[in-house]
């Protein structure tokens, strides 16, 4: 079939023929599945006809095919990207309509969302912008159209990004710092931002192991679990405060990192992945079965919430001898205070993770990690101890996982082994891979895409997972090395970063 449409330029009637062909196929496929529905009426089962759904299916097929034709027919890349964006929005729109059968003919959902609330505006813009950006940049490598201007534009954007990483990072940090002021009263926004921030931190932690040291770790969630259970158990059994347990959780997780590291030192690639996967499962299975110690599948509940650095308490009813956070600052009591405090806490932890990682990259240990990823034998011949180097990567990565775990436990107040399944490891790894291995900002973007979007579009029910899957496939097709897969040198002699990037883009 494809050979029939392979010619580089097709005339109008051929395009119409092609569209008609796909419309017929869409009709044949949708008429029985979507077009007819059995309805349970008092009189018995009846067939209801749903031509509008069939029309939507045919319509979106034709629009999609048209977009492909336009791509094929060498039209300006900007127009192509716009069309692909429009198609994506149309498909998205259609999925929403499938869900809300009642107001099928109401105003477009995207429109509603865009004007619903401040958060939704950001969401809608972000969604459209990301689809557009992916469509646009993907054509850099794969576009049939070789339009010089836009090629230049895309390299300009890349150059601007890569030579201003610091500024972009700073803007991002400022945005995350003022975020609670923008959405101060919106409980779900702060909650979601906290959740995304946990995954950003986990992504940055895993980035040390996978992105820098090149050790594929499928069991990262084990360290997260160790951190969470360390805090929960220490706080329950020994009544230790969160601020004391936080470093302890990190130390415990790091020791588990070393324990995992030892047996897998000789392994690499797939074999390493399998062993780490097994390690993650072992931790989970131990947590489930060691009932006396961990509470088994019941988990640990009513874990102590963090205090304001041991000075004040966030509860409505302050325990004897303590003062409330609102009293300390002379404010009205609000349950949002704790949420915002938790948000800033995880933000601070994540920023520490990022700062330490970026600093380590420029230190001998970080360079040795990267060298180890590139060639272990060469490392040995230069006198680098591969054992210690690998173990340090495992330990430091695990330590940040442990911090995040302790935070998770104190935020949730309840933990059980169900929070630490393999799926979590896979999500964290996906964040690192999608973001572009070793890229700090990439991890942030990927965490927003992977965690933020599915949560934001929760109203789309199971369709969000469909769109999510399609998005992942799209990223893997067009940016197989991740969204931002550039390695910035840790040290430059002659060139500035800008010149270096410009040279590479030539």
């Amino acid at each position: 079939m494809s050979s029939a449409f392979a010619s580089s330029r097709t005339n109008g009637s051929e395009i119409v023929k092609e569209l008609a062909f796909f419309a017929v196929i869409a009709l044949l496929m949708s008429v029985m599945i979507l077009g007819v529905e059995t309805v349970d009426r008092p009189t018995g089962l009846e067939l209801a006809v749903r031509w509008d759904l069939v029309l939507i299916a045919i319509g979106s097929t034709v629009v999609g095919r048209l977009a492909l034709i336009i791509r094929r027919e060498a039209i300006s890349r900007l127009v192509q990207a716009l069309l692909i964006t429009a198609t994506a929005v149309a498909v998205f729109e259609m999925f929403v309509r499938f869900r809300d059968m009642d107001d099928r003919w109401a105003s477009p959902v995207v429109f509603d969302m865009a004007f619903g609330s401040a958060l939704s505006i950001v969401l809608a813009i972000a969604f459209v912008a990301i689809v557009f950006a992916i469509a646009y940049f993907s054509m850099k490598e794969h576009g049939v159209a070789e339009v010089d201007e836009s090629t230049k534009l895309s390299s300009k954007i890349q150059l601007a990004y890569r030579s201003n990483t610091k500024k972009i990072g700073l803007v991002g940090i400022i945005f995350f710092i003022i975020f609670p002021f923008l959405f101060g009263e919106n409980r779900s926004a702060i909650d979601l931002a906290t959740l995304v921030m946990i995954y950003i931190m986990l992504g940055w932690g895993l980035n040390i192991v996978v992105g820098l040291a090149g050790l594929l770790d499928l069991g990262y969630v084990a360290f997260y679990a160790v951190g969470a259970y360390s805090y929960a158990l220490l706080s329950q059994n020994f009544d230790l405060s969160f601020w004391l347990c936080l470093p302890l959780a990190g130390i415990f997780a790091a020791s588990f990192g070393i324990i995992l590291g030892f047996p897998v030192l000789r392994l690499r690639g797939d074999y390493l992945a399998i062993v780490t996967l097994g390690f993650g499962e072992i931790i989970r299975v131990v947590l489930i079965n060691w009932y006396d110690f961990t509470g088994g599948p019941d988990g640990i509940s009513s874990i102590e919430r963090p205090s304001f650095f041991g000075l004040a308490d966030f509860s409505r009813r302050v325990p004897d001898g303590a003062i409330g956070f609102n009293e300390l600052f002379g404010m009205e009591y609000s349950s949002m205070h704790r949420l915002i405090f938790l948000y800033y806490l995880i933000l601070a932890l994540a920023l520490v993770t990022s700062f330490v990682t970026m600093r380590l990259r420029k230190l001998p240990i970080g360079r040795a990690w990267e060298a180890l990823r590139e060639d272990e034998i060469a490392c040995r011949s230069l006198g680098i101890n591969p054992t210690n180097t690998k173990l340090s990567a495992f330990a430091i990565g695990a330590m940040f996982g442990g911090f995040a775990g302790a935070f998770f436990a104190t935020r949730q107040g309840f933990i059980s082994p169900e929070s630490f399944t393999f799926l979590e490891s896979a999500v964290i790894l996906a964040i690192v891979v999608l973001g572009g291995m070793g890229s700090q900002i990439g991890v942030v973007l990927a965490a927003i895409v992977m965690i933020g979007f599915p949560e934001m579009f929760r109203e789309l029910a199971e369709y969000r997972m469909l769109i999510f899957g399609a998005g992942i496939v799209a990223i893997m097709l067009w940016r197989p090395r991740g969204l931002l897969s550039f390695r910035d040198p840790t040290i430059l002699l002659n060139m500035s970063q800008k010149e270096k990037v410009a040279g590479e883009l030539k």
Binding site: L363, E370, R373, A378, C379, G383, I491
Partner: protein, 284 residues
Amino acid sequence: MTDNKLLEVEHLTMRFGGLVAIDDLSFTANTREITAIIGPNGAGKTTVFNCLTGFYVPTEGRLTLHANDGPRLLERTEGFRIPRNNGVARTFQNIRLFTGMTVLENLIVAQHNRLMEASAFSIAGLFNLGRYARAEKEAIEKAKFWLNKVGLYDQADWSAGNLPYGSQRRLEIARAMCTDPSLLCLDEPAAGLNPRESAELNILLQSIRDDQGVGCLLIEHDMSVVMQISDHVIVLDYGRKIADGNPEAVKNDPAVIRAYLGEEEDDELPPEVAADLNVDPNAH
């Protein structure tokens, strides 16, 4: 001549199961000299290097490195400690650079151990304390010296993988030299180089020998390199040493010629075959 002995290999034997890769090999290499190890393919040359640099543990034998502070036994040292503590550096037959990292980073990684100490195992380095900053500056100076030496200063910020082949070979030598070795093992450094590049290589290796005072062990098939720059040649065949001496002597050694060109009798055909071939072409 014997008082500047650098490396002493005594009765080195390496067996892989039933295969004897090196059989009772003994030789010495001197400091400020280039010692070439040559031999047909599969003679065990690279295996000698792997034993010297700790990738293999020899089955038998003693490998003594006469460092400034006394002799050290290489076969008793854990692999990665040989370059770190004993000053044996090597390059590889198939270049092993850190291709994704820049040329400069490759040379800085080579100085890992000194920098690691200066950064107090990353703790002081994390806060950029003065001692680490100084050590890093020194490391960059050393890298610059070697970049100039191998003519890669202008490409210092390139990814190592983007360098042309000949430059990659030179970078690998520079990287090995950045570890401050007393013995440099070069595994076919001229492989894949054009004549001009191998002439440049000769100059570089001579300078490493004369200016840096480093002893070089050289595995090489390119005889123009071997005969011009080496002070001492060892010939291996099937894991045994068949000749040892200065280039001129080795070149004319009948055992060496036999190893490379085969036994003369082998070239002769068995009598019955010869008889068949000798049938008069005009017979039919």
